[in-house]
């Protein structure tokens, strides 16, 4: 019933698309097939790498763990946390992008392009510089603060002007805030001779993920993802425009604040674990909207699934392309993401 009322309204998809309805069948299919693909990807990710490991051994490492075997150790301590971290941050970036695009009706919103990743990066650089022995918990909180500051800056600037948050203005504000925050973290890195430590992390590396990080970030991410599902109906309303949402009796300011808090937690947690990977939050929501329609109750869970799949397989590719060296996954995704962005930008007729 919700889907039918907005069947002709197609808020934040790129201009030129035909109006799409919500497609629950497609969504359920994505959720089911996607979950299977995630499980398959996780197993593949665990078995592939510097030393290829047979799936039987993976199975044994999980269910009949033998601490004497080196392969079991590698699987337990390196490969599994890495694969899980990939799945988790993929969902984080994609859902953060979905929420931002839905709330701002801005097809170019992404935590990387809008400066949130750079903000989390400053938080991390400062944590590295001033408290190198800090536990991951606090590093993550620094990243939350950094991402929050960046989002306040970008959205504050965007909304100061009377014609409001146009996609162009938001993107430019994001680019400027990113440049500034990147400069700050570069400055901190050079000053404290952290350049090399931070560099690989900056390029987006899942290789360093470990159980401790996962255990600390998981509750935050789980809470934020559940929160985003709770909020999803309100986001669908917001995606029709603030006036429409307010007219339908929604407390838009409250929803937007809650949405931004969720976005900050998702982006901050993901960046603190694997570095600032951009374009996931740009691409996945678009693809998802194309597949499942305009209802964010479907878009958000499907984005999470598709985002996980993207990062799991991109991480596998990053390990295989130039073995034994790892290609930075952030760079790898940018190679797909930039043409996607250009496609979105040039589809628009110039009003933007």
């Amino acid at each position: 019933m919700v889907s039918s009322t907005r069947s002709t309204l197609n808020p934040s998809t790129a201009a030129g698309d035909k109006p799409v309805r919500s497609r629950p069948v497609a969504a359920v299919t994505i959720l089911l097939l996607g979950s299977a693909a995630i499980v398959f990807g996780l197993m593949l990710s665990v078995s592939l790498g510097a030393a290829d490991i047979r799936l039987v051994t993976v199975w044994e490492a999980v269910f009949r763990f033998n601490p004497e075997l080196a392969q079991h150790q590698v699987i337990r301590e390196l490969r599994i946390p890495r694969a899980l971290a990939g799945a988790l941050v993929g969902a984080c970036f994609a859902v953060a992008g979905s929420i931002m695009q839905g709330m701002t009706r801005n097809p170019l919103a992404d935590s990387g392009l809008l400066g949130l990743n750079a903000g989390a990066g400053v938080g991390l650089a400062l944590a590295f510089a001033f408290a190198p022995s800090l536990s991951f918990m606090y590093i993550m909180i620094y990243c939350f603060i950094g991402a929050a500051v960046a989002s306040l800056l970008v959205f504050g600037i965007g909304s100061l002007s009377h014609s409001g948050l146009t996609p162009l203005r938001l993107t430019l504000a994001g680019a400027a805030v990113s440049a500034m925050l990147l400069a700050v973290s570069q400055g901190v890195a050079i000053l404290f001779h952290l350049s090399q430590d931070i560099a690989f992390w900056m390029a987006g590396g899942i290789g360093g993920a470990n159980w401790t990080q996962l255990k600390i970030m998981f509750p935050w991410v789980a809470a934020a993802l559940i929160g985003s599902l709770v909020l999803s109906r309100s986001i669908t309303l917001l995606s029709l425009g603030r006036d429409v949402a307010a007219g339908l009796g929604q407390r838009t300011r409250l929803v937007q604040t809650a949405g931004m808090i969720i976005v900050v937690i998702l982006a901050g947690a993901a960046v603190s674990t694997v570095g600032p990977i951009a374009f996931v939050g740009l691409m996945i929501p678009h693809i998802t909207r194309y597949l499942v329609g305009v209802d964010y109750r479907w878009i958000i869970p499907c984005s999470a699934v598709l985002g996980s799949i993207l990062i799991i397989f991109a991480d596998i590719a990053a390990r295989m392309i130039n073995a034994p060296y790892e290609t930075p996954i952030g760079a790898l995704i940018a190679v797909i993401g930039v043409p996607f962005f250009i496609y979105l930008a040039s589809k628009r007729k110039g009003e933007l």
Partner: protein, 339 residues
């Protein structure tokens, strides 16, 4: 509104240019005193007159002066490049770094450094040419990606695609720079952050020909930019051959490329200087371009001085100082703009 007479306007313009000149001289003197070794103004004067100690001469002539001169040159270069780009695209937010040109130039240099160690003397004169090639390729790419037969070169599309292409190039830079050995990596990291590393007259010599030919060319074409400000249709109607437009674009790209080869990724100068210039002397390019050049030179010299002074003895790359000052100004412009 009262329209000032031509004479009053000219006096005002002349006095603004003179004031900028005086400010540059003041910062110049401060800058010569600033750094790891402090020299008092009197010491500087003595040394300039040839009476200083050997050590003072070394610091002043071999380290500080070339760096100051380079700051001035690239400040002016970026500023004029940005002015031309803003004039051509009629977009107030255009500049070499938002259009991805800096990234392209930097990438070409980075490729070179990955294969030839930067510590050898050979690349110095090659770098501007390489940077130029990278900048030109990127500019061409962005031009073709944002050109549509239906509505030509939309300014917003130009910027968005510039940002995207810049992000893509940045990703490749990361891939490449992670392969470098630690020593080269440190060099590249600092260079990409925008450090004026030419503590050396050879860099001045490498840069000078570009600035000396392209700045006068831009000043000479000031009238064309004035006409272009009226819009493509009007320009054509007034009989302006639009091929000249491309030549100006090439000049802007070449200026940015040459500057990037010496200074790395310094953004925002090409954005801020034209804005301040327009605010001070108005939109006529004959006077606006020189004013922008002076403001750019002043801005970079100041940023470089601050970078050397603020956390002694560690230096902060100039590009970082400029970004921290420049980004808020950019955001301010963005918040105020109506488009």
């Amino acid at each position: 509104m009262l329209v000032p007479s031509a004479k009053a306007r000219r006096t005002r313009e002349a006095s603004i240019l003179a004031l900028l000149g005086v400010l540059i001289v003041v910062i110049f003197i401060v800058s010569m005193n600033t750094g790891f070794m402090r020299l008092s103004p009197l010491d500087v004067l003595h040394t300039l007159l040839g009476e200083g100690t050997q050590q003072q001469k070394l610091i002043l002539f071999d380290f500080r002066l070339p760096r100051i001169v380079i700051s001035l040159l690239i400040g002016a270069g970026f500023a004029v490049s940005g002015s031309i780009l803003q004039g051509l695209s009629r977009n107030a937010l255009a500049e070499p770094s938002t259009l991805g040109i800096n990234a392209g130039a930097g990438f070409a240099v980075l490729i070179f450094i990955s294969f030839v160690p930067a510590t050898t003397a050979a690349p110095i004169f090659v770098l501007p040419l390489l940077a130029l090639a990278g900048a030109a390729l990127t500019a061409t790419l962005i031009y073709f990606l944002s050109y549509r037969r239906a509505d030509g070169l939309s300014p917003t599309r130009l910027i968005l695609i510039g940002i995207a292409v810049g992000a893509g190039i940045y990703a490749f830079q990361l891939i490449l720079s992670l392969r470098l050995d630690p020593q080269n990596y440190q060099f590249v990291a600092i260079w990409l952050a925008g450090k004026i590393w030419g503590g050396d007259w050879r860099f001045v010599l490498a840069l000078l020909p570009w600035i000396l030919t392209l700045l006068p060319f831009a000043f000479y074409k000031a009238r064309v930019l004035n006409v272009l400000n009226l819009g493509d249709e009007t320009s054509k109607g007034l009989g302006l051959p639009l091929e000249r437009e491309r030549l100006l674009l090439a000049a802007a790209v070449a200026l940015a490329g040459a500057c990037v080869s010496v200074s790395g990724g310094i953004g925002f100068v090409g954005l801020i200087a034209p804005h301040l210039a327009r605010r001070l002397v108005g939109p006529r390019h004959q006077i606006m371009l020189p004013a922008a050049a002076l403001i750019g030179a002043l801005l970079l010299l100041t940023a470089d001085t601050i970078g050397r002074w603020i956390l002694q003895p560690t230096e902060i790359p100039t590009g970082i100082v400029v970004a921290i000052i420049g980004a808020p100004y950019f955001l301010y412009l963005l918040a105020k703009s109506k488009a």
